[in-house]
């Protein structure tokens, strides 16, 4: 089977971490390494037989304390295409609902000799907590408003694929920055790879001192604007975020209607945009709120490419944290 084994070996040489918890702690070099590895995995999903034996004999647990369909499915398929055994644990099935602590749940799973824990939790820091106590590898599949590293990696991968570069691009992230793990991971990832990041939203959805986040030598990490047209002007990429209905109840926005009027992306608003602008969204989209259907389904949208690339990125991450040997050794 044609498989880029040599590429993979050179990439793993750079990866020394047990876990992937966030992009904040990764170097630009490590991020590029993941993206390159993902590139070599992308082709597997295009084959008639979508499976390689890279993780054969490894056990992956999708430990999702918070409901998720797309991320869980993406990780599940990624693991299966690498021939790993995968177990899904959803909130209603987990003993957490019976008052067991997170660490007790993990200790029980580890007693079953699993290799990789993919963690999704509504509380920030749960993957860090687990990683500190577990011998298995931990992949953060989204923790509260903290980080969602594989989402940002697939976003970076998609931008790289469409634009051919990340360095020097203007990326505007729009909407509920305060509650967004996607925004935080992207701020770290994009700034480390040299993009200029602007965040845009009403002041209630911009967390304090966000401008100091990100990795930019000798300057502010990210720019902040409350004005959508200035966020669109000159942007190479617009990243939209899902606005949660609860934000209205918490008095962070007066109404979803008001949000759409000021911050929703419509075709008219995009008339002032660069002709080759990319529209991205981590999903699920609130059509007619942060993004009109005409834009979500329009020519600038790469939303479904993001989903496709997510699979390759997650295969790469599973492969890297597993520390698996190169394929030809595995096959003997």
């Amino acid at each position: 089977m044609a498989f880029a084994t040599t590429d993979l070996t050179t990439q793993t040489a750079r990866w020394t971490r047990k876990d992937l918890l966030g992009l904040r702690e990764l170097s630009a070099e490590e991020i590029r390494g993941i993206l390159q590895t993902a590139g070599s995995f992308r082709e597997i999903s295009l084959r008639p037989i979508k499976k390689v034996p890279v993780l054969r004999g490894k056990t992956v647990v999708n430990l999702f304390f918070e409901a998720s369909t797309r991320t869980r499915t993406s990780f599940e398929l990624a693991a299966k295409r690498l021939s790993a055994d995968i177990v899904n644990i959803a909130p209603q099935h987990s003993s957490l609902s019976k008052g067991e602590t997170v660490l007790d749940t993990v200790r029980n799973l580890e007693a079953l000799k699993v290799d990789i824990l993919v963690i999704r939790h509504a509380a920030a820091g749960v993957p860090h907590l687990i990683a500190q106590h577990a011998t298995s590898s931990v992949i953060n599949a989204g923790d509260g408003a903290h980080e969602h590293p594989t989402q940002a990696l697939l976003d970076l991968f998609t931008i790289q694929e469409k634009k051919g570069r990340i360095e020097g691009l203007n990326v505007s992230i729009i909407g509920d920055i305060a509650h967004s793990r996607v925004a935080r991971s992207n701020i770290w990832g994009l700034t480390k790879l040299g993009a200029h990041v602007t965040v845009c939203g009403p002041p209630t959805l911009i967390p304090p001192q966000i401008e100091r986040l990100g990795h930019v030598a000798g300057g502010a990490g990210v720019a902040v604007t409350h004005d959508l047209s200035s966020a669109i002007h000159g942007a190479d990429v617009l990243m939209l975020l899902r606005i949660q209905h609860e934000r209205q109840e918490a008095m962070l926005i007066p109404s979803l209607r008001e949000f759409r009027l000021r911050y929703g992306i419509t075709r008219e608003r995009l008339e002032a945009a660069k002709p080759d602008i990319l529209i991205m969204h981590p999903g699920p989209v609130n059509r007619g709120v942060e993004l009109d259907s005409s834009v979500a389904d329009g020519p600038f949208s790469v939303i479904l490419d993001q989903v496709t690339n997510g699979l390759a990125v997650r295969m790469a991450v599973l492969y890297l944290v597993s520390g698996a040997p190169k394929v030809d050794e595995e096959e003997g």
Binding site: T101, L103, A124, G125, E147, Q209
Partner: protein, 424 residues
């Protein structure tokens, strides 16, 4: 009980403006003499050479967890932790289960403390029934039972009308209401200081104003009623400034700060360190410096531990779920010496004042000073010895400290309460 002579120490008794080499003779548990040189005459001699001899420390703010959460702490283990930290008097906050909102619980606390007989424990009763912030407790009954103050600590008294009436009514008793100043609408859901660290970690923040808004209100109500409000565990510079101005106007207000708020900032949370999760939260370096300045200029009357023991498994949780609180009795002195005395911000005498006579006065207790005829509550401190904090060796059941592994200066050598050694 025989005679004990504490010989050769440096006696620091701020209430008496005493700071020099003195011997102290103890007879029948009370201080009989303080003189430059006292002959033993058959007394048991404790050699205090090289140590500071100070009044037994007084903590205005201790959580003992009994009754209700004896897995976190008991009156016995909390008392032992207090003695280990150099304290001979502690004040037990009322957020137990059931809360100290009636005589039964107050009596239970005092009796249990007496049975273990390590340190003096004084209950703080609650301001409202069940600490629910709705109906006043029977203040008179609680003070008759020996409460030194009332507080809904852990919960603020959010209702302004109720706080007004409480301050007004409490005037009869000449005792303070201790307010945990936090506007619950502003802090709702928050788990740490609102700022760069909370933004980085994606955690819900508690702005400093959640505290200062309620401090401002309480100062206005104290001014209106002439009642006495004592503000617990200050965390923000804005609160210090409000109290400074109110004191100048003659408002009857006192306040305290914890060692951890003086020593640490929100940076201590690092990457989800739950041992640094405390309410009010650790704030910015600017706030920390304002708290130090408040101690220096007398705006902040005393240092109180807010000793809040929790189990290891509760703290081994995600940051949102982990309980607020730091086990503070055994590190309080060392942290204060390290943070305040060593850099020259407070003298030893000023520090001891904030840890003994000042809290004793606020509590209306006779302790906190070494006058002849008083109970012999005193602590011997080696001011230069160093030790490394090992929470596994705490006498407290609560090992939840952000200071684990830190090297601190000054070691509590001996503690005598009513003339009896209680520290070992």
């Amino acid at each position: 009980m025989g005679k004990i002579l504490i010989r050769g120490g440096q006696v620091i008794d701020p209430a008496d403006q005493r700071d020099g080499p003195f011997d102290i003779l103890i007879e029948r548990g009370k201080i009989a003499q303080i003189q430059p040189a006292i002959a033993p005459n058959g007394a048991t001699v404790i050699d205090a050479t090289g140590t500071l001899v100070v009044p037994g420390l007084v903590d205005l703010h201790t959580h003992l967890r009994e009754p209700g959460r004896e897995d976190k702490e008991t009156i016995a283990t909390g008392s032992a932790a207090a003695a280990r930290g150099g304290f001979t008097t502690i004040c037990a906050m009322p957020n137990t289960t059931p809360p100290a909102d009636h005589r039964g619980v107050v009596d239970l606390i005092h009796q249990a403390a007496q049975r273990c007989g390590i340190v003096s424990v004084h209950a703080v009763g609650s301001i409202t029934k069940g600490r629910q912030g709705k109906e006043l407790t029977d203040f008179g009954e609680l003070f008759d039972a020996g409460c030194i103050a009332l507080s809904d600590d852990g919960n603020p008294v959010a209702d302004s009308f109720l706080m007004r009436r409480a301050l007004e009514y409490a005037k009869v008793f000449g005792r303070p209401l201790i307010q945990h100043a936090e506007d619950p609408a502003l802090s709702a859901g928050g788990v740490m200081h609102e700022g760069l660290v909370s933004t980085t970690l994606g955690l819900r923040g508690i702005p400093s104003e959640a505290e200062s808004v309620l401090v401002a209100r309480d100062l206005a109500l104290a001014e209106l009623t002439g009642g006495w409000v004592h503000v617990a565990h200050l965390s923000s510079g804005a609160s210090v400034e409000l109290i400074r101005q109110a004191k100048r106007r003659g408002v009857h207000v006192t306040c305290e700060v914890t060692p951890h708020h003086v020593a640490l900032t929100h940076e201590a949370v690092g990457t989800f360190e739950t041992r640094a999760k405390v309410n009010p939260p650790l704030r910015t370096e600017q706030d920390r410096l304002a708290l130090v300045e408040g101690l220096r200029d007398g705006t902040i009357d005393c240092i109180a531990t807010d000793h809040a023991p929790h189990t290891e498994w509760e703290k081994d949780a995600d940051f949102d779920s982990a309980p607020f609180g730091i086990s503070g009795l055994e590190t309080a002195l060392g942290v204060c010496v390290e943070t305040l005395v060593k850099p020259g911000l407070l003298t030893w005498s000023q520090l001891i004042e904030k840890l003994s006579i000042n809290p004793a006065r606020i509590a209306g207790l006779e302790c906190g000073t070494l006058g002849v005829g008083r109970e012999a509550d005193l602590t011997l401190i080696d001011p230069i010895a160093q030790w490394t904090v090992d929470s596994q060796r705490f006498a407290s059941k609560g090992r939840n400290t952000p200071f684990a592994g830190r090297t601190l200066t000054s070691v509590v050598v001996r503690v005598l309460r009513h003339g009896v050694e209680v520290s070992r």
